[in-house]
């Protein structure tokens, strides 16, 4: 048994999913086949049966010597006989079988451990041969079928598409399960499957979407009211932390666990919709300093029924109005929570809120207006039915009526299908839907009921659910969709449709303008959320909650600020076409007071995030040293150089470490002990079989050991122990062993700390650009590039190099590439 390795893999890849570009051809193909059984097979030795009438394959000798004692005849182990393999790599099933064999040979899981190994050179030549055959077949396949298989909309794309198709924002997460994202992104065409269960849910989702879009209810009334929070029952004027002033309420403390917080029970949203809020307040007795507060919304009945709207800050003494608009479900309320006030409620209550002289937050009033309706019936309704009149069919229900049903039906379905299918539609395309509507009308369904069946049919048809792309080169409609799903995670808008219609979209200049336009549209937020969020695994930010004993300073405001930092930084680099090397090292970031304090950077006040020039000794700048990244690459208790090191290789350098062996067992981390993780890991570097991978994985991991699980700088590990006081706070952690962030790269270059490490990896800028190119192509097309695409990827990297590695330039280059414009 190999103890050091055991430890390594126990903590590898914690809570993350990974991309593996270098191996992607193999994996992509290998995993597609049904080979569950083969893995459990054990090989032994005996004589072989021949491979029937096949030509002699270059693998024959190896198979005869090492495989066929088990894998032959009718009782072949694992239901696999080598005779099943043929030389025809164009045959999909055969190819996949070969790739499974390849995988097992490379991994060394076959022949089994207790059997003699094939000679290394013989093994290698077989591996090379299979690789070459597979690649040849793959290139041939692409010429006729394209690189990317027909892709279904994923959950986010579906939701955004119905939003833009119909103008409804609606939660469908209970109907549409999260898509698999084993290749790093959850829009991988290969892995997006369909099942009868999903299809049933699509039918239900279509109902829900149409119910929301179509105005069957009477026009809702609009609430427009100024709320005086002095009238709130939660804000008692005596014996509490609130002082009723002439103009509002001064809040001196917030204590959530004791329910000391200002909840606006007097307001409730009566229907779903957007509501506009205006809150007027100022810092009270705050000695010139702004006061921070956050606003949450939800039913507020449970901790999980409350979501953050945002953090705000108001200046001292000067009444200031903050304004925001929020989408609310029915029966939602809002809550106002002052942040960062020094006193706990008992201290204020002891003195009395009327006499208390410490800082507080005055809220003067809250204006609410909503739901905000653009029109009635709403745009979603008009998007389907245009100006057709609504008729009252019962006191509380309206339906669309038509004087000439089939004429209207045809027009409506044609318009709807064109946008839903993201291309021009023919008579043939809408014929089945129209026929169905007619049948329904003939069966005496009302016009609207019949239309709903037709519309629902469109919303579950393959033309809507799948992106239709042509091999080899995409037509302009398909290109429009590829582009809009890349940058918006949604369907093309009218301008893109127009350009596709005139067949001009593919022109380099037009395409360039469109990329710029799409990126500057608010819908490009989806690129930030979905591309960046998955590239950097930020979606996993809540996978663990840091241990409150070891990290009492972690709270929601810090987490929110961290996420904003990364998101704003990404957008800044993108918008200004800054060099992508900024992702590794940068002299600026986005901070607010809370995050600046966490990073130990002085002089930042207030809650709003702003661009800040970083001091040269801050150890910050770039993604690697951001709180958000350091948080998602740690569990709530400990950091692991392996997890973080792998993350850097995988996400930043694009050289993912090989799969960890499957037969190493885990041991438990121990946070009581006095040994550092470095000491625990030290031994494995001396074991060659471990070291070959770990000398790549460990160095960035060690460099990042200077940061704790929430991204705070540390010289020492924290260890649990007896309670003590730190800065007036009772804590249960002590300084443990010292951190040693130094190490050397596999090529021998050494570094003392993270700052030096960053410099080293910045020396190979092409590597960073190549990684991002591969990620952008994987995300932008629904399939990761493979070895066969290397020349094209290199060309894109070359263009980026010629343009100072600008990140936006890189996106342009990706879009301009044949790789992006081909199926």
């Amino acid at each position: 048994m190999n103890t050091p390795c055991i430890l390594l893999h126990s903590i590898l890849f914690y809570d993350l999913t990974f991309t593996a570009f270098k191996r992607s051809t193999l994996n992509r193909l290998a995993m597609r086949c049904k080979w569950t059984i083969i893995v459990s097979v054990a090989l032994t030795f005996a004589t072989a049966t021949s491979m029937a009438s096949e030509h002699e394959l270059p693998t024959k000798q190896l198979f005869t010597d090492h495989c066929e004692s088990c894998h032959s005849g009718t009782n072949a182990k694992g239901d696999f006989a080598t005779a099943k393999l043929s030389a025809d790599f164009n045959d999909k099933q055969n190819r996949e079988l070969w790739l499974t064999v390849l995988e097992q040979l490379k991994e060394g899981s076959m022949p089994p451990k207790d059997k003699p190994r094939p000679a290394a050179n013989k093994l290698q030549s077989v591996v090379d041969w299979i690789n070459a055959q597979a690649e040849k077949a793959e290139i041939a396949r692409r010429a006729t079928e394209g690189r990317v298989v027909m892709r279904r909309l994923n959950r986010a794309e579906y939701a955004n598409t119905v939003r833009d198709l119909l103008g409804v924002e609606i939660d469908l997460t209970d109907l549409l399960p999260l898509d698999t994202s084993t290749n790093g992104f959850d829009n991988n065409a290969e892995l997006l499957h369909t099942s009868s269960f999903l299809l049933r849910n699509y039918l239900d989702a279509a109902d829900r979407v149409l119910d929301e879009a179509i105005a069957n209810e009477p026009e809702p009334w609009i609430l427009k009211k100024r709320f005086d929070i002095r009238e709130e029952k939660s804000v008692k004027s005596t014996g509490s932390v609130y002082r009723h002033t002439d103009d509002g309420v001064a809040i001196f403390a917030t204590w959530e666990s004791a329910n000391i917080r200002v909840t606006m029970w007097n307001f409730r949203s009566h229907v779903r919709g957007k509501y506009r809020f205006r809150i007027s307040g100022y810092g009270f007795q705050s000695e010139g300093k702004p006061i921070t507060f956050r606003v949450t919304a939800g039913t507020l009945k449970e901790v999980t029924e409350e979501r953050l709207i945002d953090y705000f800050a108001v200046p001292a003494d000067k009444p200031t109005v903050i304004e925001f608009t929020e989408q609310l479900e029915p029966e939602n309320r809002i809550r106002i929570l002052a942040e960062g006030l020094p006193a706990l409620p008992p201290a204020v209550e002891k003195i009395g809120a009327d006499k208390y002289t410490g800082p507080g937050l005055v809220i003067q009033w809250v204006d609410v207006e909503g739901p905000i309706l653009e029109s009635w019936p709403p745009p979603s309704h008009k998007a389907i039915f245009g100006d057709l009149k609504l008729a009252r069919i019962s006191p509380e229900r309206f339906e669309v009526a038509s004087q000439q049903p089939m004429v209207d039906a045809e027009r409506i379905l044609r318009n709807f299908a064109r946008r839903a299918f993201r291309r021009n539609v023919s008579d043939e395309d809408i014929k089945p839907f129209l026929a169905r509507v007619k049948l329904k009308l003939d069966q005496n369904d009302s016009f609207e009921q019949a239309m709903r069946v037709g519309l629902k049919g469109i919303l579950v048809s393959p033309d809507f659910l799948f992106l239709r792309e042509q091999a080899p080169k995409l037509d302009d409609f398909a290109l429009a969709s590829r582009l809009s799903y890349f940058l918006w995670s949604s369907m093309p808008d009218e301008e893109l449709f127009q350009l596709a219609e005139t067949n001009t979209l593919h022109q380099p200049k037009v395409l360039r303008e469109q990329v710029d336009r799409l990126l500057s549209d608010p819908k490009a937020k989806a690129f930030n959320t979905n591309f960046m969020g998955q590239w950097l695994s930020l979606r996993a930010i809540d996978a663990t909650l840091p241990d409150g004993t070891l990290y009492p300073e972690y709270d929601d405001i810090l987490k929110t600020s961290m996420l904003k930092e990364t998101s704003l930084f990404f957008d800044e680099v993108l918008r200004n076409d800054l060099p992508l090397t900024n992702f590794v090292s940068s002299d600026f970031s986005f901070l607010n007071a809370r995050l600046a304090k966490h990073y130990g950077i002085p002089g930042i006040e207030g809650m709003e995030m702003r661009r800040v020039a970083l001091p040269s000794d801050s150890h910050r700048g770039g993604l690697l040293t951001m709180g958000s990244i350091l948080k998602v690459t740690a569990n709530g208790t400990t950091t692991s150089p392996i997890v973080r090191g792998s993350w850097v290789l995988e996400r930043i350098l694009g050289t993912p470490p090989p799969k960890p062996p499957q037969d190493v067992e885990a041991i438990e981390p121990d946070i009581r002990g006095a040994t550092t993780i470095r000491e625990q890991l030290a031994k494995h570097r001396n074991v060659e079989s471990c070291a070959s991978c770990h000398r790549e994985i460990d160095p960035p991991g060690f460099a990042l050991e200077s940061f704790d699980v929430i991204g705070g700088w540390r010289e020492h590990y924290r260890a649990t122990g007896e309670p003590r006081e730190v800065n007036g706070r009772r804590v249960r952690f002590w300084n443990g062993p010292a951190v040693d962030p130094s190490d050397s790269l596999s090529d021998g270059r050494t570094f003392q700390n993270i700052d030096e490490y960053k410099k080293l990896i910045l020396e190979d800028k092409d590597k960073l650009a190549r990684n991002l190119t591969e990620k952008l192509i994987a995300y932008g097309t629904g399939a990761a590039p493979t070895h066969a695409d290397k020349p094209q990827v290199d060309a894109i990297v070359g263009h980026a190099r010629d343009n100072h590695y600008g990140f936006k330039t890189l996106i342009h280059e990706v879009v301009q590439s044949a790789l992006f414009q081909s199926k």
């Binding site: 590898l12 890849f13 999980t304 033309d463 909650l545 499957q662």
Partner: protein
């Protein structure tokens, strides 16, 4: 293969009151088995594991001392088997959480790039016995829509996390207008699907081989759903079973994992009792928030990463003991419900396990496994060699056979599990 219909009809007079006989259609069971109430299966996954020191007994065989967690189930000692040492083949510790995707499928390499899942145990069984009940299977979850059930093509089946919604699907009839509307909806759905298969057929001709595979997956889904909806339609015309309990109220607080588990278990008991389904999968919640339990101040996920901190271990134990109590109460309910001379527990295999052998180290070896009820020779601790265990899928073959399905293989199985024997027919 012989269905002794006459035997069945002769005795039907006394038995028709039993829900399971209303839909006698299975041709694969022999006559003796056909006279007995049907077999069922509930599969439960605790996604953060169960702390092994508290779960596994030290001794093996029949005369073992109950572990702290099993002590909760002491009243059922003779009705469960605890199994140690098992693991799924081909699972590493680096994707320990992702391994929950393979918990009921056994597909190796969950979480690895390009991973594709295979059919889960319950869906495999549903292909054989699913048409006999209103719902072929139920996929439930304590939070989110990720569950344990996967289709033959490796697509996740969205699990339902709302007990009130499931209850209403199972038991709430609505007035005749609602029923009519439901039938209408199903008819509309079927006609839409009908149109779609024609459309998709014409679309198919212009596609390459791999695109065609994708479209075929879609087409197969359309056909399967059409068939299912036609079965649903006939069910929709039959009254739903009546139960004399209040509809459950969903617990909005995701941190309340015990409360949520309890609701799911109660619902599962009702679903089995009324023979609404015979196959249930339940993914328990594993929240990052601290559950509202006395003495617990940290979230379950973080407790599972205890790093041997004694305070965390103590809290972890409190949470997991509460989970075990919900399991005990599920077993009690099944035990108390009688069905033709047997208890429901005798006819229901209740399988509790996890994708994690140890939450702190992320080990996927030595998975906690408990099998209760269902008609096995229970009352023992079956221990296997942790370093060379049989695949967990072997147990799944036992469970399939126990359901009366003639399967000798499932996933990575190499046979059935040695030492686990059936006790009845």
């Amino acid at each position: 293969m012989n269905v002794h219909r006459r035997t069945f009809i002769r005795s039907a007079g006394v038995s028709l009151a039993l829900p399971w006989l209303n839909v006698f259609a299975d041709e694969s069971r022999d006559s003796l088995d056909a006279m007995l109430p049907p077999r069922r299966m509930i599969c439960i996954c605790a996604p953060l594991g169960l702390h092994p020191d508290n779960f596994f007994p030290t001794q093996t065989g029949k005369d073992y001392t109950l572990s702290p967690y099993l002590d909760i189930l002491k009243g059922f000692r003779e009705e469960f088997t605890v199994i140690s040492g098992l693991a799924h083949a081909g699972m590493g510790s680096s994707f320990a959480h992702q391994a929950s995707a393979s918990f009921l499928t056994g597909a190796p390499g969950a979480g690895r790039p390009g991973f594709r899942n295979t059919i889960s145990l319950d869906q495999f069984a549903a292909d054989h016995i699913g048409t006999q009940t209103r719902f072929p299977s139920l996929a439930l979850s304590g939070e989110g829509s990720g569950g344990l059930s996967w289709t033959r093509t490796g697509a996740l089946i969205a699990a339902d996390n709302s007990p009130s919604r499931v209850f209403s699907r199972l038991f709430l009839e609505g007035n005749s207008e609602d029923v009519q509307q439901q039938i209408h909806r199903l008819e509309d759905g079927r006609s839409i699907l009908d149109d779609l298969s024609e459309q998709a057929q014409s679309l198919r001709s212009g596609l390459g081989i791999e695109d065609r595979d994708k479209l075929d997956e879609y087409l197969t889904s359309v056909r399967e759903l059409e068939q299912r909806m036609s079965i649903d339609e006939s069910w929709a015309k039959k009254p739903k079973p009546k139960v004399s309990v209040e509809p459950p109220k969903d617990i909005a607080n995701a941190a309340d994992l015990i409360g949520r588990t309890r609701l799911l278990f109660d619902l599962s008991h009702l679903a089995i009792q009324t023979d609404s389904t015979r196959l249930i999968t339940i993914m328990l919640a594993g929240s990052s928030f601290a559950p509202p339990i006395e003495g617990v101040s940290l979230g379950h996920h973080d407790l599972s990463h205890h790093g041997k901190d004694p305070l965390k271990l103590e809290q972890l134990k409190i949470v997991e003991l509460e989970t075990m109590k919900t399991v005990r109460d599920l077993l009690s309910k099944l035990k108390q419900s009688k069905e033709g001379g047997n208890s429901l527990l005798d006819r229901t295999s209740v399988f509790l396990g996890s994708n994690l052998g140890d939450g702190s180290s992320h080990s996927t070896k030595n998975l906690p496994v408990l099998l209760a009820g269902g008609g096995y020779r229970h009352g023992q601790h079956l221990a296997f060699d942790v370093n060379n265990p049989p695949p967990l899928c072997n147990l799944y073959v036992n469970m399939l056979q126990r359901l009366g399905i003639e399967a000798d293989k499932f996933g990575t199985s190499t046979g059935t599990l040695t030492g686990l024997e059936m006790s009845q027919g």
